[in-house]
């Protein structure tokens, strides 16, 4: 950028800037200008303004807090949020220290109930918080450390710079808690490898939008990047190249990075379909397809007729259960094509011996039930795609069913919840299906409880996930494709059902989007417009 000589041009320029900015000076009704996202349960803003200075303001702990100075989650969060609030304001350096009769000197954080500092977030984590912003000391109270993280994000969204560059916040009072406990993003690292950098950036963006589950669809037909310690040949033979792998260190890094943001990592090892890459490193695992009397050379789903299959799955899931600390494992179970099974004579023999006759659905169920039991014996709970339920496989009442097929999905939700199972909704939120225009509106308008059912049934909807399947997505385009479209899903899953105004959402989301860009997330535009600080490639 060229150096500008001060003088007439400089003075005129500054005046023009101030005039432009003054015209947008925030007033009493600052809520849309703040761009709170997702909208908290209850927000009371007073017109009284408080000023913060980067030199004098601090995030601190209440001495009575159950989570103390040794709490790494909080220490990391304080550092991170201080940076989000003050760190990126490079161009318009406000006065660092100044006299004001309405300073905000501190945000004091207090964890009221269980520390959970060294624990992993779970489906039952308490993410509620209460934020009272009053000079000179604001207070953030939460039952658990997870609520503090959510509250810090909201606090950081309340702070803005006035036209003179002074960090400002309205006196306010916020209480907040999520509508749904499971708010996830699905990433697919098999169709395309995603760099760890991309995954960590995604976790950062998720935290800004109060998402709390990273559903890691880690392997599939096309490649097997997960480096298994028990079965190293799986990735040796199944990954795209030796550098397209996730080592145990990589996986640990993702899990800890997520934990510090209150995000669960839900691994999915999808079977018996979607497993072509598994066969490269584990001979005899997949079903050989036959061309008449002889093997054709092609392979199909995992072979459900062999004991060796279940020995393998048992040892494999024993490792997976140790590597991934979350209570749940997603075992897939979707889109099983019986074509290959139909050609294989050993499968035919096996089915006859079991009395399945020609019903391949029964064969599928046989496999699924055995794997679910394997997972249960590892003291993990299971999540499955809807086919497992649709095929009437015998599943535990606590098994979560993820509804992904778009046609008549509310009816599917009704069926699943009527049968007593918890549900995750993804069907209307396949973000890989890009279209021209503001499709975030369609995602925003989805009502996860728009199906006929009892109160009890509706309570079984645990939340949902925005899915970004990887056929056409990798590190070059993932971030702009996910954000801010997924933000629409994020608010639908966090905020109250009455938060529906699309126009208000547009006003807030454009501000929130610019905030993500400022923080280094390449969130794409919603529509025509600009951000004060555009993305630096």
């Amino acid at each position: 950028m060229q150096q500008r000589a001060l003088g007439l041009w400089g003075a005129l320029g500054t005046l023009a800037t101030l005039a432009t900015l003054a015209a947008r000076a925030p007033g009493a009704s600052a809520a849309p200008d703040l761009g709170l996202w997702p909208l908290p349960r209850s927000v009371r803003l007073s017109p009284r303004l408080l000023r913060l200075s980067p030199e004098d303001f601090a995030l601190g702990l209440d001495p009575a807090s159950k989570a103390g100075p040794s709490c790494v989650i909080l220490q990391e969060a304080f550092r991170r949020y201080y940076d989000y609030i003050f760190g990126y304001y490079q161009r318009r350096r406000g006065p660092a220290r100044f006299y004001t009769d309405s300073p905000l000197l501190q945000l004091v954080v207090s964890v009221v109930h269980d520390s959970e500092c060294d624990a992993f977030p779970s489906l039952s984590s308490d993410e509620s918080y209460a934020l009272t912003v009053k000079g000179p000391v604001a207070v953030l109270k939460a039952n658990q450390v997870w609520g503090v993280l959510r509250g810090l994000e909201t606090f950081s969204q309340l702070v803005y710079q006035d036209p003179y560059g002074t960090f400002t916040i309205n006196e306010s009072s916020i209480t907040d808690s999520p509508r749904f406990p499971h708010r996830g993003i699905l990433i697919d690292t098999s169709r395309h490898y995603l760099s760890i950098k991309t995954i960590l950036k995604t976790l950062d963006a998720m935290a800004m939008n109060k998402f709390n589950v990273l559903h890691w669809h880690i392997v599939d037909d096309q490649s097997f990047p997960y480096q298994s310690v028990t079965f190293p040949q799986l990735s040796n033979k199944g990954s795209y190249t030796p550098s397209h792998v996730y080592t145990p260190t990589d996986v640990r890094e993702v899990i800890e990075y997520a934990r510090l943001r209150g995000i669960r990592v839900l691994p999915e090892f999808d079977s018996p379909g979607h497993t072509e890459s598994w066969g490269k490193g584990q001979k005899g695992l997949l079903t050989p397809c036959y061309d008449g009397e002889r093997p054709s050379g092609a392979f199909g789903p995992i072979n459900p007729a062999l004991n060796s299959t279940y020995d393998f799955m048992s040892r494999f899931f024993s490792e997976v259960s140790k590597v991934f600390p979350d209570e749940f494992i997603h075992m897939g179970g979707d889109e099983v094509d019986p074509e290959c099974w139909e050609t294989n004579p050993d499968i035919e023999k096996f089915m006859r011996s079991r009395g399945f006759y020609k019903d391949f659905k029964k064969l599928e169920s046989f496999y699924i039930e055995k794997v679910l039991n394997i997972i249960a014996s590892q003291r993990k709970k299971s999540i499955v795609w809807q086919e497992v339920f649709d095929n009437e496989d015998k599943i535990q009442p606590s098994t979560i069913v993820q509804v992904w097929k778009d046609k008549d999905y509310p009816e599917e939700q009704a069926r699943v919840t009527a049968a007593g199972h918890p549900v995750l909704l993804s069907a209307p939120w396949y973000l890989d299906y890009i279209t021209y225009g503001e499709d975030w509106r369609t995602y925003y308008k989805v009502d996860p409880l728009r199906f006929s059912g009892s109160q009890e049934q509706k309570q079984r909807v645990l939340g949902g996930e925005a899915c970004l399947w990887g056929e056409y997505v990798d590190s070059t385009n993932l971030t702009p494709r996910l954000w801010p479209r997924a933000s629409a899903v994020g608010e639908r899953l966090w905020s109250d059902e009455k938060v529906k105004s699309i126009n208000d959402a547009y006003n807030r989301l454009t501000v929130h989007r610019c905030r993500m860009v400022r923080r280094g997330i390449a969130a794409q535009p919603l529509y025509v417009g600009h951000c004060e600080q555009e993305y630096k490639m």
Partner: protein, 337 residues
């Protein structure tokens, strides 16, 4: 672009929402029209930098200053330039296209295009002329009077014609050639035979191949963009649809076909900025690039697919954030260290 042998950057620099071009003869245009006159501006030096960077790569910079429509952002900086729309007998407070009946308009254009002609060394300037909404002109009593006086009656295309002709005359005096959007041709504006017409509408008023036929039959040169609006994204490998386009698949003589001098992939900016432009443009624009460079017989999709996948990895290796066209991998992935 250079890696793809594309050789024209058509810079649609200003439009309704903002005016980021730093004008030295009319600084108010920038001051009042830019999103932010300090941060969201292309200074004279910026423009020079782009032109030289392009020149070193054998790329022409074709600047477009679209008028008389698409000019909302010009209004605040040049009061009286845009037509005042009327609600009955009173001004409604809103403004429409450039006012074609005032001498001041042409004085302004004269000075402004003198500056632009000097700032952009390419022989051609793109003068726009698309999507002129006649509603505001119709509502304005001064314009109504003008229409009666000149005998244009109710045909506002004749008024548009009048404006464009004046504009073309102005620009010709600066020894520039011009490119216009197809409406200028469709509305039967009297244009010089050396005008280049850019076809952007897929079906209206006729399918784009038919439009090419009509333009070239009139002896004018044409540029094709209609099937190459890359801002219109959809799920899947849509580069194939771009690749399958054959710009010369219309009824015409060899001389006519020679008048189709090429085309442009367009990346309109409603939903595009630095966060997503590069992956949205590449490698989809590469399909257009091959269609415009290589022989027409080079049309096999499978052959193109395997080459494009490898080429995309090469683009990545050279630091271009080109998105994937299908399942797979590159040895050196983006952002992977």
């Amino acid at each position: 672009m250079a890696y793809n042998k594309l050789n024209v950057l058509h810079w649609h620099v200003v439009d309704d929402p903002s005016f980021p071009y730093e004008s030295l003869t009319f600084p108010q245009l920038t001051r009042k029209g830019a999103y932010n006159p300090i941060t969201h501006v292309y200074t004279t030096q910026d423009v020079k930098d782009v032109i030289e960077y392009a020149r070193l790569r054998g790329i022409r910079v074709l600047a477009e200053f679209d008028t008389p429509g698409h000019t909302q952002s010009w209004g605040p900086g040049v009061p009286g330039l845009l037509t005042s729309c009327y609600s009955g007998s009173q001004p409604s407070g809103t403004f429409g296209p450039v006012n074609p009946i005032l001498n001041s308009t042409y004085e302004f254009m004269d000075t402004f295009f003198l500056e632009v002609s000097a700032a952009f060394p390419d022989f051609y300037l793109h003068l726009g002329g698309d999507e002129v909404d006649f509603t505001c002109w119709k509502s304005n009593p001064d314009i109504q009077a003008f229409m009666k006086k000149t005998g244009f009656g109710d045909d506002f295309r004749r008024l548009e014609s009048f404006y464009i002709q004046e504009l073309l005359d102005i620009v010709s005096t600066y020894d520039k050639g011009y490119v216009v959007w197809q409406e200028v041709f469709d509305n039967k504006v009297k244009i010089q035979p050396d005008t280049i017409v850019q076809v952007w509408r897929e079906e209206v008023p006729v399918p784009y191949l038919k439009e090419l036929e009509l333009i070239t039959a009139a002896g004018l040169r044409a540029l094709l963009s209609a099937p190459w609006y890359l801002n219109r994204i959809s799920y899947g490998p849509d580069w194939q649809a771009a690749y399958k386009v054959e710009p010369l698949a219309f009824e015409g003589t060899a001389e006519q076909k020679a008048l189709v001098i090429g085309g442009e992939a367009c990346m309109w900016g409603e939903y595009v900025d630095s966060t997503n432009l590069v992956p949205r443009l590449w490698p989809r624009a590469s399909a257009v690039a091959e269609r415009l460079w290589s022989a027409s017989q080079v049309a096999d999709l499978d052959f193109a697919s395997s080459r494009l996948a490898r080429f995309r990895c090469e683009l990545l290796r050279r630091g271009v954030q080109a998105e994937p066209i299908g399942v797979g991998y590159c040895n050196e992935e983006f952002d992977h260290w």
